[in-house]
């Protein structure tokens, strides 16, 4: 009986407890599930707040996202759409999620992953940016503000979003988007005439200069315009455009940018309508010379420069193909230039074989006016900013004045709009009458933003001028004049002397020696020689000194002329306390060099000073060099 009571009581308690738990569970489970679902899909709830726990968040894999930057779309019937997409920011691929409701409004935007610059591109993940989106129409989000200074990131965001919207409109809103081919056909009519009949005639021409297609626009009775499809390489990628030229006036009728891989917010601005409209009815000469207005506030010299270069090539092509103009060949142009910068009807003779060519100079030509040689032209190459292609130029020197009379660039692959300007006529002008000394001193115009290219040119010019001086002016290059030293200082080195005469010109030049003085007494007898030398101490500090010997090679005095920091480090040595500038002269270490002989200095090296071994070691080395020099050169006849 007792056992039965136990079993029954236990059973009842467990039963009652179970029923209670069951009801509570039935009540709370949906609430807990909702919460967990929301936690797991927080971002999705954030961009589409209408979501409920019961909604399926299965990504719909049946769509083709090619060219849209979309990576995933979730369709929630009756509530909206959640897109995940990515785009290239300034430093990273940025992934974001955006929600659209069924009325065509953005319900939320959230940056999921980004690694852009803090304070600039990274601001895209901040609330101030995403808070602008809810409620904005998907078809007009121009009101969304970006951040000044982070155009690439924020421009990329807007560009990516508009691709998402295009996809959305065509996929879910039944909006029929123009295919790229349809758009191109419409544009070709826009920039020529309505109802134009377009015929591809590319096969009739030899295409060059980036032109990939030539078409005629026919108005039903005659061809009225020609449309070129052209591409060029900009800063970040290929830009393709179409341009129409009137077949009567040969002026530009219109231009459209077809594909543009340039940086969003920078080079990409050439796709803006306001930029393209300036080509409506543009004069041919303006297109040829690149008289193009840049988009206000934009800075994309490379893109603009490349476009201008492409237009020039195109107009030249058109002129030769349709206007019967004979465009001179490259060799004709070079010959014309050489005449331009020297004399007309010049007889040019290649004399390169007569010289040992160096420093990028690879051709030397003499220019004869019919009776005498009047000029020399050097063809030279150097590396500018582009490390893989050299800049090749030629430069003419007058053979009478030896000044420069002209300069032209033959080849260059420098950055369009920057270094490439080196090949502009406006840059050549300064060389029409340039003094040799100015070329040597680099007194030529710098191209803004192209210091490497102009720097390379300046270096190359120095080489050419020096080559010219050696070969045509008979100068010996590379040996500087002796450096003068005051008598007062020289007296310190050789107190017995009265007069000092530089004799360095009679001996071999040595870089360590700035000058050599012969010292004489009042009786005009030689009493010794003073070397004015210099050496690099610690930290490349220049130490200048005087070092004297009597006429029988006994050393007399060493005088340190300047005191730099490296010497101060020697302040613990001997009597020198580093407090009185040039007082290093009082250091007893210097006495190692004084009152001995040059031979002794060469056979018994002086010890360096610990702690300042670089400076003292350099000093020892240069004195030994001078001692050896004195012996080798037999200065004063002695040794």
């Amino acid at each position: 009986m007792k056992h039965i009571t136990i079993v029954v009581t236990l059973s009842i308690v467990v039963l009652v407890a179970s029923v209670m738990v069951f009801f509570v569970e039935a009540w709370t489970t949906p609430i807990i599930d909702d919460y967990n679902f929301e936690q797991a899909n927080l971002a999705k709830f954030e961009v589409l707040p209408l979501l409920e726990g019961s909604d399926s968040l299965e990504a719909d894999l049946s769509y083709d996202f090619t060219g849209t930057s979309i990576t995933e779309v979730i369709v929630i019937p009756g509530k909206g759409y959640i897109y995940t997409a990515e785009f290239q920011g300034f430093q990273s691929i940025i992934t974001y999620m955006v929600g659209f409701d069924t009325n065509g409004n953005i319900t939320g935007y959230k940056t999921l992953i980004q690694g852009d610059t803090p304070g600039l591109g990274a601001e895209i993940a901040k609330d101030w940016y995403k808070d602008q989106f809810p409620g904005v129409s998907i078809n007009d989000f121009s009101e969304i503000d970006g951040l000044v200074g982070a155009t690439i990131t924020f421009g990329g965001s807007a560009a990516s979003l508009s691709k998402v919207v295009d996809f959305h409109n065509s996929t879910f809103e039944g909006v029929v988007l123009e295919t790229p081919a349809e758009k191109l056909a419409r544009w070709k009519k826009e920039i020529t005439i309505d109802n134009a009949v377009i015929t591809d005639v590319s096969g009739d021409y030899t295409l060059s200069g980036g032109i990939s297609r030539i078409e005629f626009a026919n108005d039903g009775s005659k061809d009225v315009a020609v449309i070129y499809t052209v591409d060029f390489e900009g800063y970040a990628g290929i830009v393709e455009y179409i341009i129409a030229l009137d077949l009567v006036t040969n002026d530009v009728i219109g231009l459209r940018i077809v594909t543009n891989e340039e940086t969003a917010g920078i080079g990409s601005v050439i796709s803006e309508e306001s930029f393209q409209t300036q080509f409506d009815a543009m004069l041919q000469i303006d297109a040829l010379n690149g008289n193009i207005d840049e988009v206000a506030g934009s800075s994309a010299p490379i893109t603009y420069g490349a476009l201008k270069g492409s237009l020039t090539e195109l107009i030249n092509f058109h002129k030769s193909a349709f206007e019967g103009e004979v465009i001179e060949t490259f060799n004709e142009k070079i010959l014309r230039w050489k005449n331009e910068i020297t004399v007309d009807n010049a007889i040019i003779t290649d004399v390169s074989l007569d010289y040992t060519l160096t420093d990028g100079i690879y051709k030397v030509e003499l220019v004869n006016n019919g009776s005498t040689d009047v000029a020399v032209i050097y063809t030279t190459e150097f590396i500018g900013y582009n490390p893989s292609e050299t800049v090749v130029y030629f430069i003419a020197f007058d053979l009478v004045t030896n000044d420069i009379i002209g300069f032209r660039v033959m080849y260059q692959s420098e950055t369009p709009g920057l270094g490439a300007k080196i090949a502009d006529d406006s840059y050549f002008v300064q060389f029409d009458d340039l003094l040799q000394a100015d070329a040597l001193a680099g007194n030529i115009d710098d191209l803004a933003g192209a210091t490497i290219t102009t720097g390379g040119l300046k270096t190359s010019l120095v080489d050419v001028v020096n080559f010219h001086k050696v070969e045509f002016q008979g100068e010996v290059i590379g040996i500087p004049d002796p450096v003068e030293m005051s008598d007062a200082n020289l007296l310190l080195a050789l107190p017995d002397a009265v007069t000092f005469t530089s004799v360095y010109g009679d001996y071999t030049y040595l870089e360590d020696i700035l000058n050599i003085y012969e010292a004489k007494n009042a009786a005009d007898e030689v009493v010794g020689y003073i070397y004015y030398g210099h050496v690099k101490g610690y930290g490349a500090d220049n130490i200048e000194f005087l070092f004297s010997t009597d006429k029988v090679t006994n050393t007399v005095e060493i005088v340190i002329l300047n005191d730099t920091q490296s010497w101060d480090l020697a302040d613990e040595y001997a009597n020198y306390d580093g407090s009185a500038g040039l007082d290093f002269n009082t250091s007893t270490w210097l006495e190692n060099f004084e009152g001995t002989t040059l031979q002794m200095l060469l056979t018994t090296p002086v010890d360096t000073v610990a702690g300042v071994s670089t400076t003292t070691g350099a000093m020892i080395s240069v004195i030994e060099t001078i001692a050896q020099y004195h012996t080798d050169e037999s200065i004063g006849g002695g040794n």
Binding site: I6, T9, V14, A17, V21, V24, T28, T29, I32, Y35
Partner: protein, 212 residues
């Protein structure tokens, strides 16, 4: 002389102060040390204990006359475990953040010796009203104890007092915070100091009573 029956008020205040489970009985130490990092979780834990202890005391008291002695403990456990399960589900549904911060300690209320202790020591011998008063007093005493510890730990260790969610007072700048107090060791430190102070007060009182 038969012992005088205690009044409901006495029963209530007994748990709250005189036999405070935290500082006097040292019951339920595990959650005491684990959930006292912030006032908010201490309050949440306290609320849970109040819920379970009051209801389990009432339930045990109601069935006390029908439960065979041999299986009383299993039955108490079933009752308590069911109540804790219910509590856990309700908290997860309505205060999910708090439930997450209490973590396992919420489930472990089942084995909190305070609950089983009161069921066995009091509810199984007293009527439902008194049992409820005892449960409430004890649970409030426990809550007060852990909130007091949490108050010092959070204030001195993290510089703030979090009452509920965003209702948070930042009082002490980071430079002056004693970081160890919000780590595990800090729980022992604060608890030890508080117990010593309370014992000092109690001993002195006891001494005075003896002298009189």
């Amino acid at each position: 002389m038969p012992r005088r029956e205690k009044s409901i008020r006495e029963i209530f205040s007994n748990g709250l102060l005189k036999q405070n489970p935290t500082f006097v009985q040292f019951l339920g130490m595990c959650p005491t040390l684990a959930v006292t990092k912030s006032v908010e979780s201490a309050l949440g834990m306290g609320a849970g204990v109040i819920f379970v202890l009051v209801l389990s005391n009432i339930a045990v008291s109601l069935v006390r006359n029908y439960v065979p002695k041999e299986v009383r403990i299993p039955i108490y456990i079933v009752i308590i475990a069911s109540l804790v399960t219910v509590l856990e589900m309700i908290m997860k549904a309505f205060v999910p953040d708090l439930a997450a911060s209490l973590g396992t300690f919420l489930s472990l209320i089942v084995v909190n010796c305070l609950i089983l202790g009161r069921a066995e020591a009091f509810a199984s011998k007293n009527g439902p009203l008194k049992s409820a008063a005892d449960g409430l007093g004890m649970a409030l005493g426990f809550t007060g104890g852990i909130v007091l510890i949490a108050f010092f730990r959070e204030l001195l260790g993290a510089g703030s007092i979090t009452i509920w969610g965003s209702l948070k007072l930042d009082l002490i700048p980071e430079l002056y915070q004693v970081n160890i107090l919000v780590q595990s060791a800090g729980a022992f430190l604060v608890f030890g100091i508080l117990v010593s102070q309370i014992n000092k007060y109690r001993m002195n009182k006891a001494d005075r009573n003896e002298e009189v």
